[in-house]
Symmetry: C2
Subunit: 219 residues, 2 copies
């Protein structure tokens, strides 16, 4: 297996906060980890402090969880080309970790090539104002809760993912794998995306408009 | 959202090692994280030391990665009911982290209710000897490499997952989500598994015998 060729890296960042949904983050990250075997990527894992970030939702203290190490705070984040925002019930918290994330998204968005959200990660982008006037989607089980946070956003209730300009928003949790593979196909080509998909033995949703979970959740 | 009821917890453990595949671990873990909102679970994250465990494959130093905090070493691991073993290219390493994992699997298996492997995590179980005489499956892209490590195992080339006694082995990476949901259905019932699946907006492989990736990878 060849390690990646040298070239100007694509600089990717991901925002983590207490109570992020593990698969929202690690679905896309696993695809990018594998992509980095053949393409030059950097990854910055951003949070409000450098302390480990737990998936434990503050309001659900008796759940099991995992803790991930950030590489940078929002204050020390390097320049990025792509920013990923996972969701999770931790977004319901109003603490400084969430507020810092929202401020960072608002400040950094104009300098990004792409913004990609998973699940209710789109709520943070909506509160930051960067989705105003855009088409976007989110988790289908809590669609109304998220939509209420972005009254100027054109929320799409039936979509596996939505692309509007340089913003890619996906539906809930596992839809993050589909949106990142669709984005990789757009940026790196179909063969690269298909090779990754086959390596992950993942059965992709390939049509952004087909969304079985909108109906499941009554939308 | 109700937090879990009090009851005797089901004690789950997962083995991590340098170069584990992120989605092998976090697909099943995310399902279990969500399950723990309604059912009493504990989780022990086991590794050879308490240092953060990176997904970076030692032989591929230029790739991007994430680091996870273990909760216990193999030497301090509490009693478990269920052990999860993810895969990853780090299994190709012969260092102490992998050797310690194999020794631990060999020692702990007789005390487990269930052993669940994802991808080439089955290679560790095979080397530990606990798959001898059993039907099992693994990643399809490197099927022959893994099968050679367990000459006394009845390797199944075409299966999304295989159940033999209390051992559940799955195919590559994302098949870990299918095997854990099938296991949750077996242990906690169909409604619990379906509710989790819908919450994750995941399109399950529901038939263990249908495996499109065996053909993709020439098996």
């Amino acid at each position: 297996m060849a390690d990646q060729p040298s070239s100007t890296p694509l600089r990717i960042g991901i925002i983590l906060f207490p109570g992020f949904q593990a698969l929202d983050a690690f679905g896309p990250l696993d695809c990018l980890n594998d992509l980095s075997r053949t393409h030059n990527l950097t990854l910055s894992i951003l949070s409000s402090t450098l302390s480990p970030v737990s998936t434990k939702v503050p309001l659900l203290p008796n759940t099991i969880s995992q803790s991930i190490l950030p590489t940078h705070t929002f204050a020390t984040a390097p320049d990025l080309d792509v920013l990923l925002i996972p969701g999770g019930l931790g977004i319901r918290d109003s603490g400084p970790a969430i507020q810092d994330a929202i401020s960072y998204i608002r400040a950094v968005y104009p300098k990004l090539q792409y913004l990609i959200t998973v699940c209710n990660g789109s709520a943070l982008a909506a509160i930051a104002g960067v989705l105003d006037g855009r088409r976007a989607t989110t988790n289908k089980k809590i669609f109304d809760e998220v939509a209420a946070l972005g009254p100027k956003v054109d929320w799409v209730p039936q979509a596996r993912w939505v692309v509007d300009g340089n913003i890619w928003t996906s539906s809930g949790v596992s839809a993050g794998i589909d949106v990142i593979l669709a984005w990789i196909e757009e940026v790196f080509g179909e063969k690269v995306a298909d090779d990754l998909t086959n390596g992950l033995e993942y059965t992709r949703h390939r049509d952004a408009n087909i969304d079985p979970f909108a109906k499941v959740h009554g939308l």
